[in-house]
């Protein structure tokens, strides 16, 4: 496995997966943080843990998009030297060279590289709200609902980018 290939794995299977796998637990924890469902002691424990959890999720998304954009993406879009006929080492050009494969770049990669950046913005806002209002999340329904919705939006963005990344890498693997 090449160095960039290894970075691609770290980008998607480590950083990206931390958020995607942790999302379910975070969503359940946030959703169930209600006065009617918890004891005062339980709310206190959850309120103390939830900010750490959501900040880790937000940080993982930042690592994901930064590693993807500045470490993996340059290899993907590197131009092939003039006269090159074997384009497999130049994924973007390899995809665009064939009309049957071009879709994976014009739709797949174009969507992935853009929608991914919405995820850390949304997750950071959610983590901030959860951290600042942790002691009143159980009571403050509008704040809790919006923090939950922000996390869900972040998941949709990250999940879309992750799925597209896996598919594009299958069509044109990073060398």
């Amino acid at each position: 496995m090449s160095e960039v290939g290894f970075l691609t794995v770290v980008h998607g299977m480590v950083f990206g997966s931390v958020f995607l796998l942790g999302f379910s637990a975070g969503l359940v924890a946030l959703y169930s943080l209600r006065t009617a469902w918890t004891t005062p002691e339980g709310r206190l424990v959850r309120a103390r843990r939830l900010p750490t959890y959501t900040w880790i999720m937000a940080a993982s998304l930042w690592f994901t998009v930064l590693s993807g954009t500045f470490m993996v993406y340059p290899t993907y879009r590197a131009p092939a030297p003039g006269g090159t006929t074997e384009l497999e080492d130049y994924p973007r050009e390899y995809l665009l060279a064939d009309s049957d494969r071009a879709f994976w770049h014009t739709f797949g990669m174009e969507w992935k590289e853009h929608v991914a950046w919405l995820a850390p913005i949304l997750a950071t806002a959610a983590a901030f709200v959860i951290a600042l209002y942790r002691d009143q999340l159980a009571d403050d329904i509008p704040v809790r609902r919006m923090a939950t919705l922000l996390l869900c939006f972040a998941f949709v963005a990250a999940g879309t980018a992750g799925l597209l990344g896996a598919l594009v890498n299958k069509a044109a693997p990073i060398p």
Partner: protein, 118 residues
């Protein structure tokens, strides 16, 4: 649509006013929409795409990201300064933010932004 700012005395003095939450939520929506608009502008003009190439290896994406993050963080700082200490109508804020986020998703969807292609 305007966000009505309703000054309400919190019933519990231990509760923080929700203005800081509203600022963070609204700013995230503004950041998402800003990113979508920049993507559309880049698609519409190759000159803009060239200008936004801050790092050659990354291409125009580097500039798109830089501007979007700047807009997001600036909006957050300004909104936090203005409404942070206040109690605001969070339902309206949440609706506006949700609309802005959806706009950001739509404008970063290739069939949408390629409509504005150069």
């Amino acid at each position: 649509m305007t966000v009505e700012l309703v000054e309400v005395t919190p019933t519990d003095s231990n509760h923080l006013p929700n203005g800081a939450a509203a600022a963070a939520i609204l700013a995230s929506g503004i950041g998402c929409t800003a990113f979508g608009v920049i993507v559309v502008l880049t698609e519409a003009s190759s000159d803009i795409a060239g200008t936004l190439t801050l790092f050659q290896q990354v291409g125009p994406l580097s500039g798109k990201v830089a501007i979007a993050l700047f807009v997001w963080l600036s909006a957050w700082a300004v909104l936090h300064k203005i409404i942070g200490p206040r109690q605001v109508n969070l339902r309206t804020t949440n609706v506006v933010a949700s609309i802005l986020i959806v706009i950001g998703f739509l404008l970063t969807f290739p069939p949408m932004f390629t409509l504005f292609g150069d």
